[in-house]
């Protein structure tokens, strides 16, 4: 880790922020961000994730609640007193200044000696491969280069907290992937506590030490990526973090026989230990569902779409339920083919049909 970077934990306590006519953008939010952590905040448009960033930056004030950086209450502090770095969605560099002048603006204002500033710029610019662009103006470089310069600008003042608000959303997919891995390496190198806001599941799950999922101004779940993916707290989170389509299938459970009826098939369950309700929703991701050929199979293939080396099948059950499954290119099913399901039961999720909340983890058959 680069010397001079302070790691600070951040705590948001019962934060509420409303805009306009009382519409709550952030609603009773409690969130702990660990020192040196890269926390990704994931949510759809209007979920309040960017508002959380504005509250942390001091660009918006909480209606109620408190925000702590370490043991310092920063709730009432203006942005200029918070020692943060921000990378906005549209790379913000001052149009009338060169990249070097933009990047050095904050440390110069803070009274950092010129030699020290130059050394920091050289270090960050080399890491982000923009050393040769430093004397250009923002309009003279590409979108990706501008965004890298904006990241350099955020880092060069050695912020205690680095905030990134969907910084790659305006860039093409290839560039986004390249910058994503660069930010992860950068976080490892510079070590600043980082909050990265995104609506892109792949980005959130791929980059974050932990992922905070937001919906309607509320925090749904905070967990490491794999745990979040395997153990979502409800159907909404399960669906939202899914990289492939998630099947939510209504299931009838015969407790006496220990059997479930799923898409016309009866399956005997060996687990779980906890009792299951008579009806529940089974969540199975398409990658945990395979098709097997079956002459009298209860399901019929509707469509087959190539997804890279895999094929995404949509099949229809006798009760009319559509199910999406992924298959390898080695065994291809034509539309109208009769098939049966092969479920990876330990990866299946059991949700309460009424509330959508997760009931048990994993099922064995």
């Amino acid at each position: 880790m680069i010397t001079g970077t302070k790691q600070v934990g951040v705590r948001i306590e019962a934060a509420v922020k409303s805009f306009g006519r009382g519409q709550r953008a952030v609603d009773s939010l409690d969130l702990d961000i660990r020192p040196g952590e890269l926390l990704t905040v994931l949510g759809p448009s209007g979920s309040g994730k960017s508002t959380v960033l504005s509250l942390l930056a001091g660009l918006a004030e909480v209606d109620s609640g408190r925000i702590w950086f370490g043991d310092q209450d920063v709730t009432a502090l203006p942005p200029e007193a918070r020692k943060i770095g921000v990378v906005f969605q549209s790379a913000v560099l001052y149009p009338h200044l060169s990249l070097r002048e933009s990047i050095s603006f904050a440390p110069k204002l803070a009274g950092v000696p010129r030699d020290e500033i130059n050394a920091r710029i050289a270090e960050v610019a080399a890491f982000l491969q923009i050393s040769h662009l430093l004397d250009r103006r923002p309009h003279e470089v590409s979108g990706g280069e501008r965004q890298r310069a904006a990241i350099a600008k955020a880092l060069v003042s050695r912020p205690t907290l680095l905030l990134m608000d969907e910084p790659f959303s305006a860039l093409d997919a290839q560039l986004r992937r390249a910058l994503r891995s660069q930010v992860v390496r950068l976080h490892r190198e510079f070590g600043a506590t980082t909050v990265f806001v995104t609506h892109d599941q792949e980005e959130a799950l791929g980059m974050g030490d932990r992922v905070a999922v937001m919906r309607g101004g509320r925090l749904e779940q905070v967990a490491p990526p794999l745990e979040l993916y395997r153990n979502p707290v409800n159907t909404w989170v399960a669906n939202f973090v899914s990289l492939q389509p998630l099947n939510l299938l209504p299931v009838e459970y015969d407790a006496q026989a220990g059997e479930v009826k799923l898409c016309g098939e009866t399956v005997r369950l060996a687990g779980p230990d906890r009792p299951l309700p008579a009806t529940f929703t089974l969540g199975i991701r398409s990658e945990n569902l395979r098709l097997r050929p079956s002459a009298d199979g209860p399901l019929q293939v509707l469509t087959a779409e190539a997804v890279g080396e895999q094929v995404k099948y949509t099949v229809v059950a006798p009760d009319g339920t559509n199910v999406v499954a992924l298959g390898g290119a080695d065994q291809v099913f034509e539309p109208d083919a009769k098939v049966a399901l092969a479920v990876d039961w330990p990866r299946a999720m059991v949700f309460d049909t009424e509330t959508g909340a997760r009931i048990v983890e994993g099922i064995t058959v």
């Binding site: 930056a57 001091g58 660009l59 203006p78 942005p79 200029e80 918070r82 943060i84 770095g85 921000v86 906005f88 969605q89 549209s90 913000v92 001052y94 149009p95 009338h96 200044l97 603006f105 904050a106 204002l109 803070a110 003042s157």
Partner: protein, 287 residues
């Protein structure tokens, strides 16, 4: 084929418009370097056979030789046109500077600061543009007589500000509105206070808009004729417009008036050429 025809039509129309606009100015320029004796013989001659600056020299208050070599006396009692240009420059510069000091913060506040009555304030400002400025001449006249402001540059500057400020506030408002708010947010994060962010980042970033505002302010003041005629005619603070219009009565020779006209065209023309790249950015529809 259709687009080619369309292109030919547009270019022809543009060329015709250009000739329509430019030709009178070019003609005035030619007339201004022609001796009256030659001009009187052939009004339609495009190029003078004996080009001369004598009309300019006499307009600036010195005698000059005529076509027949005889000395011609200066036009008017002293260099009225030169004095008028100096007065116009002083009034226009003062109007521009004071107008910018008022209009820039006003436009920025209207574009950025959350406030009640923002829409009605904007509407009120633009509504003042729909009132013919001359309709306020009588109250101004009464007020200025009472305050001894008639015939003063300060008086004319104040009147011009009532025209210039609403206009430049609207131009500035649209510029500040188009400036990304994240610029100021970034400046705040970088350690600037609100004022410092405005001064260090917003103003330099909005420089093209500010230049356009200043040019519009200067040209509006320079071109204003009615109030200048009412408040400065016959006084030492007489501006270029009234001075030139006085020439029509003082001298009856078009060549001499043309020279005065060209002298008066020079400052705004130079300004327009130097700052043309900023003027091009103004959204005249919003104005």
């Amino acid at each position: 084929m259709r687009s080619r025809k369309r292109s030919v039509f547009i270019h022809t129309a543009a060329a015709a418009l250009l000739v329509w606009t430019i030709f009178p100015i070019v003609w005035v320029g030619i007339v201004s370097v022609t001796y009256h004796a030659e001009f009187a013989q052939s009004h339609i001659s495009l190029l003078p056979s004996h080009p001369t600056l004598s009309n300019y020299i006499r307009m600036l208050g010195s005698p000059a030789a005529g076509l027949d070599g005889r000395e011609l006396s200066p036009i008017g009692n002293g260099p009225l046109i030169l004095d008028g240009i100096v007065n116009s420059v002083i009034v226009a510069v003062l109007t521009t500077v004071i107008g910018m000091l008022v209009a820039v913060p006003a436009a920025y506040a209207l574009a950025r600061v959350a406030m009640r009555f923002r829409s009605s304030s904007l509407l009120t400002i633009i509504a003042t543009r729909s009132v013919p400025p001359i309709s306020t001449a009588v109250p101004f006249f009464a007020l200025y007589n009472a305050l001894n402001l008639t015939g003063t540059r300060a008086g004319l500057v104040i009147v011009h500000l009532t025209i210039v400020v609403p206009l430049t506030v609207w131009v500035g408002y649209s510029f500040f509105l188009n400036l990304p708010p994240s610029l100021e947010q970034m400046a705040r994060v970088d350690g600037c206070s609100r004022w410092s962010a405005f001064r260090r980042i917003v103003l330099p970033a909005a420089r093209p808009g500010l230049m356009a505002m200043a040019v519009i302010a200067f040209l509006t003041s320079w071109d204003e004729f009615a109030f200048a005629l009412i408040f400065t005619t016959g006084t030492p603070t007489q501006t270029f417009g009234p001075a030139l219009s006085g020439m029509f009565f003082l001298v009856s020779l078009p060549n001499e008036v043309a020279a005065g006209l060209v002298l008066g065209l020079l400052p705004p023309m130079v300004l327009a050429i130097v700052f043309s790249r900023y003027i091009r950015r103004v959204n005249f529809v919003s104005v």
